[in-house]
Symmetry: C2
Subunit: 226 residues, 2 copies
């Protein structure tokens, strides 16, 4: 569903230069739930943003489906992202002037795709926010905002979801409910999910775990157990 | 060092009303490291903000040292906070136009207090950011930004530090280094720390753990073990 080929991302230049991604090649198969772990600063968010077409590589290729992102102009890239990619940001990035409901529905609106109403209801119930959906982000707790961001990515059933530490602000009970629901989406809808997590228990919900360090993939575990 | 007496915080009115804090009374002793746990939405951030004088209660009292916060006007409250209170926000709240160094030094500048240079160096080393301090938040990873927020609160040795999920974005190795350093600050400098965490391992670094649910304190563990 998404692939990085010899992906390198360099920030800055000279001796303040940071090689955030160092020749990374990885293939995320359709219908698989992959976890990505690694120390703070190892390049996880950079990899997620590059794969989702939100950030340009210094060198290397990104494929979403069979589209090479470098073949697209800005407008085509935005349209592809809106129709095919869901993203749960590490900092949530909700629109403060919209309610939780409006935030959840926004990607589908922008991508001019429909939301399956029954599925949407299951998503809202799974993230445990049914009674907070008419509130704006400023009126929600940190974990509630994170859950709105999770619901926003899941509701429109995009081809691939990149989740950057989606349970970092949640207690373990709420977090595991969300991870179980992601597993459900992967099994029932063949949803593809790539999730960055610092939590080994969270990673155990995935089919496979990749380990990043200093911008490189250094290890891989299939069928992880916590 | 800080106390809440019959603290109640109500948001909204009518049937959309939320009782974020429900008659909470708690005393945080000087020199103690207390963890606060509870489900997402249970009132932890609201309690932290009320104790730090960042948010007004609907009813009840907050004492910092032997000062009743309701005796202070806006100006006096701001000065007290700047001199005596350190806060690590759940969303970091760094100034995007300042470098990590400038962000760390800002509270002391605003409070017109001095920073112990040796202590500051130990803090920067403990959070593992020595080589990223000249960068602005936008050039730092999520976990690096969180570490700047941690360093900012610790560097000026305030009377009390309120830490709202300070390791949520960190891998377990980096997180435990920071928690160990907080223990060091508590033992060496008699630092008072109140830390919200969702992680039982993180809570085990504290001297005591309080449990919140639906805006009330429902349990307490002394000398926790993970
Ligand atoms: N401005 C507001 N208006 C209405 N309700 C609010 C407002 N701010 C917070 N709340 C509600 O108060 C309750 C407690 O919020 P709080 O942020 O203290 O929770 P928390 O324990 O920190 O949660 P988390 O673990 O998710 O960060 C939540 O149900 C939240 O939706
Ligand atoms: N705009 C930028 N300019 C310079 N360096 C940057 C920039 N953005 C990120 N970096 C650096 O690139 C490296 C990788 O960052 P990235 O955000 O991918 O890490 P991460 O693995 O997601 O970390 P965390 O677990 O803390 O979120 C870090 O050292 C970071 O400081
Ligand atoms: Mg990150
Ligand atoms: Mg909170």
């Amino acid at each position: 569903a998404a692939r990085a080929i010899n992906a390198t991302k360099i920030y800055g230049s000279g001796d303040t230069q940071v090689k955030a991604l160092d020749n990374v090649s990885v293939d995320f198969e359709r219908g698989k739930f992959t976890a990505v772990m690694g120390p703070s600063g190892s390049g996880k968010s950079t990899l997620m943003h590059a794969l989702a077409g939100l950030d340009q590589l210094t060198s290397g290729q990104i494929m979403i489906g069979d589209t090479d992102l470098s073949d697209l102009n800005e407008k085509q890239l935005t349209l592809l992202r809106r129709k095919q990619v869901g993203f749960i940001f590490q900092a949530f990035n909700l629109l403060p002037t919209l309610t939780a409901n409006e935030n959840v529905d926004l990607p589908a609106k922008l991508g001019k795709t429909d939301i399956d109403e029954q599925w949407r209801q299951r998503v809202i119930t799974a993230v445990g926010l049914a009674d907070r959906m008419t509130h704006k982000p400023g009126e929600l707790s940190g974990g509630q905002q994170q859950r709105v961001a999770v619901a926003r990515a899941l509701a429109s059933q995009p081809d691939i979801i990149f989740a950057d530490e989606p349970t970092g602000n949640l207690d373990s009970v709420t977090g595991s409910e969300i991870l179980e629901f992601m597993q459900t989406a992967v099994k029932e809808l063949n949803q593809t999910i790539v999730m960055v997590t610092h939590d080994a228990v969270g990673a155990s919900y995935a089919d496979e775990v990749l380990f990043l360090a200093d911008g490189r993939i250094v290890d891989k575990i299939v069928n992880p157990t916590a």
